[in-house]
Amino acid sequence: MLRNTKSGYGLVAIFFHWLIAALFLGQAALGFYMADLPPDEALVFTLFQWHKSLGLLILVLALLRLFWFAMNRMPELPGPMPVREKRAARLAHLSLYAAIVAVPLTGWALVSASPLAIPTFAFNLVVVPHLPVTVSEAAEAFWGFIHGNLAKLALLVALLHIAAALRHEFILRDGLIRRMIRPARE
């Protein structure tokens, strides 16, 4: 029920999948929205702090998820899938795993590199120290570029992932999506 099996995902993997998916998409929407707003508005400052808190939450969840991933087997993809599609699917999954760690980390680096030196006070509860990166306008711009483009790349892969899942559901009709809804039984 909790753990993955040969043919399906356990409850823990399913929980991580949907929770991080929702947080990541919400975070991306928030990030692209606030990045274009004038920086001297009170609301914008507050949105940035929410984005930092949510990003760190995603990072913590992602690390727990990776730990769980390492402790569990990956369910096999459906037998009839062509090898090339299986490889593409695995590549997408691994890329998304990498993204949920790398995008928050580069955001953290961006905050740490900024000469504004605004402390990170996650959910107004925990003071999170800055990463040991160079502090300068140039370093901030660099991490900003990496952070934003990694996020766009991750969204693109997520979009392909969603499109593939919908193809399985509505065109191939092999019931693959159900594996991410109903936990596998032993």
């Binding site: 004038p38 920086p39 001297d40 508005e41 009170a42 914008v44 400052f45 507050t46 702090q49 000469p115 504004l116 030196a117 605004i118 402390p119 006070f121 107004n124 003071v127 120290p129």
Partner: protein, 196 residues
Amino acid sequence: MMDFNRKFPVFCLLLASALATVPARADLLLEQAAGRYVIEPGRSKLGFSVSQVGGGGIKGVFKTFSGSFLIDGGDISRSEVSISVDPGSVDTGAERVDAFIRGKAVFDAKRKPPVRFRTTKVTRTGDDTARIDGLLNARGIDKPAHFDIRLLERRGRRITFRVSGTIRRAPYDMQIGYPIYSNKVDFDMVFTGRRR
């Protein structure tokens, strides 16, 4: 016993004159300092700091301000202070931080009137110290505020005071950044005035 009783009136007289001497001397100093003074920005400094979570904080100065004060030699409580500060002149050493403080989220310096302080009451608290109560206006909002002042120096027509106090940001709609940045702003200021 007899001896003490005989000397008691003398003792009282000595005690009374000893007690009277301190205020009398201070009053004399004040009488000499009485007058209207214009603040000289070049010899004054308006510094502030706001602490932040995890240590450190923002420190800066306001560079543009003007004002005057009146020292009432006869009755110190009737003394007056009035000062006007351009919040757009903030300088923290980091241009983007300055722009944020000048901007809409904090002082809104372009649209709002300058920051002003005027006294309502001056209370002497020591030989060279006093407490000034007044109204501080920022973003067009008037709130009571008080500062502690200490006389640092009086030379010729100039007099210099150190002024310190703590102002909470929230009553002025400037609570942005709280609780990352403290609600309290600590002011450490030195004002030199020149008697007219």
